[in-house]
């Protein structure tokens, strides 16, 4: 026998290929979004960056919005994973969680840009809205758990919303403060996150 390697069925290979290409597009888009305002990124640019044709992008995504959403969801998965990892640590604390999240935002400007975009009325299919809501709920669940763990007993969901809002607000307000360097901004936003974190932690006492 010439071939003893157990072959994966063709259909599986194809699926893998497909996933790979989808991943390719996704990553290309993420990188572009990291470079400039995601609303100014064009399909052509993404196609070029991903090394595929424009048409291919439309084979994987209904339209640009769906691709944007997917990028957003992937980023959300990242932060979810980071949070889960952090929460597993013995030093887990609300403060650390805040730092973690603000660091994530600093690295993923497109994330909160998109969050803002979708929240502020970016058109979305009902299916897309569903996905978005599911993801936000998942994120909120993590945060709420941390809030509860920090001692809050009453209104934990509401307080979790307040915390989440506060952290997001740091970025929208200071992410690109005109005339400041990236490192300076990072320092400032982290300092603000620390203040917020402290407030929500001390709250329980």
């Amino acid at each position: 026998m010439t071939d003893q390697v157990p072959e994966k069925p063709l259909i599986v290979l194809k699926q893998q290929e497909k996933d790979a290409r989808r991943q390719l597009i996704l990553n290309a888009a993420r990188h572009l979004f990291a470079e400039k305002d995601f609303r100014s990124v064009t399909v052509r640019e993404i196609a070029k960056a991903a090394g595929v044709s424009i048409g291919t992008i439309y084979n994987y995504y209904e339209n640009l919005t769906e691709l944007f959403l997917d990028v957003f969801l992937k980023s959300a998965e990242d932060i979810l994973a980071r949070i889960d990892n952090e929460q597993a640590s013995p030093h887990a604390s609300l403060s650390r969680l805040c730092s973690l999240y603000i660091d994530f935002l600093n690295e993923n400007m497109a994330f909160y840009q998109m969050m803002g975009h979708f929240m502020l009325g970016g058109e979305l299919s009902s299916e897309g809205t569903e996905k978005l809501n599911r993801m936000m709920r998942a994120l909120m669940d993590r945060l709420e758990a941390a809030v509860v763990a920090s001692g809050t007993e009453k209104d934990s969901r509401l307080i979790c919303h307040a915390l989440f809002s506060a952290l997001n607000g740091i970025m929208i307000t200071y992410a690109r403060y005109p005339g400041r360097e990236a490192t300076e901004i990072s320092r400032h936003t982290r300092r603000l996150a620390a203040i917020i974190g402290d407030l929500f932690e001390k709250r329980v006492r």
Copy 2:
């Protein structure tokens, strides 16, 4: 007596007329911005809404961005005035200030959309940037005063930044939570603002 009414010179009248028309354009833009994402508002729409021609818009503003900025600045003046008014009240408190600001944002969605836009890198003439910065500083001065008045002694500017961020974050995060009514959103954001306000007030103890 032939004419004792003190006549305004013609030049003054003309200036008034000009100001009035500028106001007309400004208000038309504000209303449109309230209806949808301000970035999707076109010159044609503004002109139509203001009842003037496209060319007239450009007689009053160098370009669309400058008009956007002016709308932003006018809104900022509004909130500044409201704050000043509130601070003059005997019941002034940080909490009330938070409510006030969040109410303002609820009524002026375009304000924080624009704030986000300009902060996140929206192109602006150096003159425009200067105006923007001046206004932000003025706003921050008010907030800081309130923060100090609430008992904070150390790092008042930084804490004021944190508070400002937190309040803005509420809107960016929940202003148009998909599937919620405006009144519901208003209630939710006010509740969150109250939590934030409480936190920053209790901070002093």
Copy 3:
């Protein structure tokens, strides 16, 4: 008698004022045309440069084209005067005339730009066309006289046309040769004019 100074009638003064203002506009336009392609000069620019309002310009000229034509005609008068002056000199020669004309063109780029513009189909009122033709004939008469003076007996008008063409061609071809300095261009065009002049002078022998 309180006033013995012989007064010019009011109507004369007014006419002088009017002429002065017309001159003002004309000169402003000429200077602007010297700075850049005359087709890119706007009414607003001319008005500003002349220190009058846009409307005033339209009081003196039917439209922009008529102003352009007037500038052209004024320039043509200049070169005519220069030629007349030169021809009165004892050293007058066809060669010197060529130099004179090319120098004039170097100083008045707008002149041949406009000549080209009007010749190549720039719309003109029939009255304007008439003025233009009259001026071209006057210029041609001078040139022809010089051609005849240089010894040419046959086909003097035709040869004069050829000479005129050749000189104009120098400018259209080399006036802004990319990457060359103004002085360099001036030297080159003068050298070419000398060659042309020589050819037409030697012709007679």
Copy 4:
């Protein structure tokens, strides 16, 4: 035999199709330029004349200027080929070359309009400027060769410049002499070209 016709690969066919469409646009533009001042030709007109959409124009050309340049270069190739053909003839002479060139200009008014436009400062990418210069040099080389062949030994490049200028000047000066018929103009310009040609030929003696 199933298929012995050597099939062109698909990619070649596609390229041909692309070239054909580019040609389509090019020709449409050339015809429009022949009808009126090329600066007044709009993208819409070209698109309509070519039977393609506006967007398609921009698939083939960065911007209008690049299209203008391409039209110019294609015309230049034409005259270059005609010159090469003429020079290969046993009856080649400077006079005939002059006639040839003036005939070409009469048929391609846009050519010298564009030459004038680009020479007089029409914006061009550095790549475009490079192409333009290369083409002008090629043309000048041909002319210089003819000038040399006619007996000129000294300053051949300079004299070639003078000749080229003179010929171009004929067109700029008389191409559309107001109130003259096309045939009349053609006759006049040819006569002038003959005079110029004679002068430059006789020069050698």
